[in-house]
Amino acid sequence: MILTSFKTVGEAMQIPPTIFPKKFLTDAYSSIVTALPFGRVYLNTIISTVVTTVVQVLFCSMAAYAFARIEFPFKNAIFVLVLSVLMVPGQIFLIPQYRIVQSLGLLDTIPALFLPNLFSAFGTFLLRQFFMSLPKELEEAALLDGCNRFQIFRRIMLPLTKAGIVSLVIFTAKFAWNDFMWPLIVNTSMDKMTLGPALSTLQGQYTTKYPMQMAGAVMAVILIIVLFFIFQMVICCSRGKYSQEVVEGLIGKRN
């Protein structure tokens, strides 16, 4: 029973395209585009997701490598500082973050959408685990061959932690795409909004127009689902071992 309840709901997500007659459907989609600056909102979400993911993964992998593999003064103290961020629920930061964005004069702008999300304690911690699992000998050999740390990072370590990077990319992209409260707080005008809060406005304005709401919902999830499938194919087809590693990555490699 539970199984079927899940399945029907899973199918229910896909119901709008099948249950309504074709004409009705296109109507809903075209009216949504005119009701909201939908293209703009879509673009904003894509920009915010791409920037967040790329920058966060880059920064996190750099820091993670240093924390995992290089000895330097105050390393443990700084790492504890990073970890402490992980333990605190996100709401704690919101009000001061809002004020920082405000004082930078960035309220209601596109950069406001992703600014605090560029830095992640979670990502740093996750990738550090991956770097630590690599054999030390590789790096020592490279050092003897005269590579500097940056070369080692880019040429040797980064390619070897693909599984970790992939899991962080999935995690971050999903998070950025679906983020709700932060855009709702910092941005107010519709053309600076991302999909989540935009849907909430849509729902508020067109309470009874369900086909239109569903059209919005479908458009909001479709891209991330496609992305998910692509990643899944990459993960499953390239190497069998990958998927296991990625899943382990997602749960933070606890053991």
Binding site: A12, P73, P96, Y98, A121, Q203, Q213, V221
Partner: protein
């Protein structure tokens, strides 16, 4: 080795030079994340604590007011009520979610056809946007024309106000929350199950254990760390539920008071009403509760 030792002086000097180079490289590597976290997370954390002792006006002028916010907090019926709702949400969704995800993971772990298809199907809800999911569910739950009530009516029953009945609305929201989280937790548990070595099962089977015994005597005990992980993350995310409720229950909904969670209260106070100092105090309270839960569980796990 002996040759190496005779040259230690030279090696040491070189090493320290390399060490210093390493230090510089390391600091360059960690600089972006560390500075970013300092500016956008650690400093805000300190600031937030300070704000909780202040009254912060719309124009961001903070005036110290001592413990006034906290006094208000403990005498505010709304805080109590929202905490009650949140607690209800956590107490129901965590065990039910854990049960469902272990069950499904166990089923998928046995060799049934089309496992990967099911896995994908179950995982999909957790990658989709909560706002979109909430919208679809709101439509399903709709009192007059939702498919749930139409089905009930077709079977001869009476329609139910899934989202408007104050007694039911929170449970309706819980179902959506579960629907979104079970798949993800299931994947984690499944990975844990697949990590259990087959030899344990073989040994137990030789000793004459049936499939049910295998599950309770082998799978569950060996899966405990993963279950524990899923439980903690579910409790923490349960305490922070926001998107779905924000989308599904409007301010004019008769069930509004019965479905508001602490994070909702925090959001309304800070960004709707503009009482940022008070909201900061609320967020500290959320933090304290989550910390408490985590510590209790850590102790529980150590003893268990």
């Amino acid at each position: 080795m002996a040759e190496g030792k005779s040259k230690t002086g030279v090696v040491k000097k070189r090493a320290s030079k390399r060490e210093k180079k390493d230090w510089i490289a390391a600091y360059i590597f960690i600089a972006p994340v560390t500075l970013g976290l300092l500016v956008f997370y650690i400093w805000p954390f300190i600031q937030n604590i300070w704000f909780s002792f202040n009254e912060v006006s719309k124009f961001n002028v903070a005036t110290f007011c001592g413990l006034a916010n906290y006094q208000k907090l403990f005498h505010d019926g709304e805080v109590l009520r929202t905490f009650g709702n949140t607690l209800k949400y956590v107490v129901v969704t965590v065990p039910v979610g854990l049960f469902l995800s272990i069950l499904i993971a166990a089923l998928l772990n046995s060799k049934i056809k089309g496992t990967s298809l099911y896995r994908t199907l179950y995982f999909l809800p957790s990658v989709t946007m909560a706002a979109a999911v909430a919208m679809v569910w709101k439509w399903i739950y709709n009192e007059k024309m939702g498919i749930l009530n139409s089905a009930i009516r077709a079977l001869g029953g009476k329609g139910i106000g899934w989202l408007t009945d104050p007694k039911i609305a929170l449970y309706s929201v819980m179902i959506v929350g579960l629907w979104m989280s079970v798949g993800y937790n299931m994947i984690i548990l499944l990975a844990g199950m697949q990590g259990i070595s087959k030899s344990y099962y073989e040994a137990a089977q030789i000793d004459g254990a049936g499939p049910i015994q295998l599950f309770f005597k082998v799978t569950i005990p060996l899966l405990t760390p993963t279950i524990f992980f899923v439980m903690i993350t579910s409790i923490i995310s349960g305490f922070q539920v926001f998107d779905v409720i924000y989308m599904m229950i409007g301010k004019t909904n008769p069930a509004y008071a019965n479905t508001q969670t602490v994070v909702m209260l925090f959001y309304r106070q800070a960004f709707d009403y503009g009482y940022k100092g008070y909201a900061a105090a609320i967020s500290i309270l959320i933090f304290a509760v989550i910390m408490l839960v985590t510590v209790i569980q850590m102790i529980g796990q150590k003893n268990g």
